[in-house]
């Protein structure tokens, strides 16, 4: 990646960053509907994640 593109990418990342003291409301009705999408979308991945593994055993 050339320098200019790197700077642009960094600028974009900086613009997207929200400070933690920026108020954002959570709509729990929307979240409940979205949860439904997530469990369908990530089904395969979640199957792997649910299993206990001897990580760092």
């Amino acid at each position: 990646m050339v320098q200019n593109e790197k700077e642009k990418a960094l600028m974009k990342t900086n613009e997207q960053y929200r400070p933690s003291n920026c108020e954002e409301q959570i709509d729990f009705e929307v979240a409940a509907k979205h949860f439904k999408e997530i469990v369908k979308r990530d089904f395969e991945m979640n199957t792997q994640l649910m299993k206990g593994e001897n990580y760092y055993a």
Binding site: A9, K12, T13, Q16, Y17, R18, P19, S20, N21, C22, E23, E24, Q25, I26, D27, F28, E29, V30, A31, A32, H34, F35, K36, I38, V39, K40, D42, F43, M45, N46, Q48, L49, M50, K51, G52, E53, Y55, Y56
Partner: protein, 148 residues
């Protein structure tokens, strides 16, 4: 903005609906969590979030508190190794469901190995809502990819 009682009701309903979806999709969890667990998670979550009345806070932090209390109070009782990390998975799925409508979909470039480590750490290591919030922030804002 909903009052405290309404907010509490909304959150309990969210947790109940999420549990239903989680169980339907997995078809593996035979034990239903007690309604008291939802009340307890909600109460602890609201107690923590109410500290921020004078200091506004973003969705990552709110989701992190929810994730922290679900993983701490463990609504499910796994019956086999296949379901061993159900509580931790449910905790991050709930957190993602809170963040994604605000910040866009999680980048699919986040590797599964990272998520495995996140879940492992939530289960076996000490973690705090502050650190979980920082991890969520990095997963969305530092990825630089918003697939909305």
């Amino acid at each position: 903005m909903p009052d405290m009682a309404e907010q509490k009701e909304n959150i309990v309903r969210f947790l109940q609906q999420a549990t239903g979806e989680f169980q339907n999709n997995r078809n593996v969890l035979n034990l239903s969590p007690s309604p008291l667990v939802y009340q307890e998670i909600t109460q602890r979550y609201l107690c923590d979030i109410s500290k921020f009345t004078d200091f506004p806070t973003n969705a990552y932090k709110k989701a992190a508190y929810m994730c922290f209390w679900i993983r701490k109070l463990k609504p499910f009782h796994p019956l086999s190794k296949e379901q061993q990390q159900a509580n931790e998975l449910f905790a991050i799925d709930c957190a993602f469901a809170m963040i994604e409508p605000v910040h866009g979909l999680r980048s699919q470039t986040v590797p599964i190995e990272f998520l495995k480590e996140l879940i492992h750490n939530l289960r076996y290591r000490a973690s705090s809502p502050y650190l979980i919030a920082l991890i969520f922030t990095a997963m969305w804002d530092y990825q630089g990819i918003q697939e909305t």
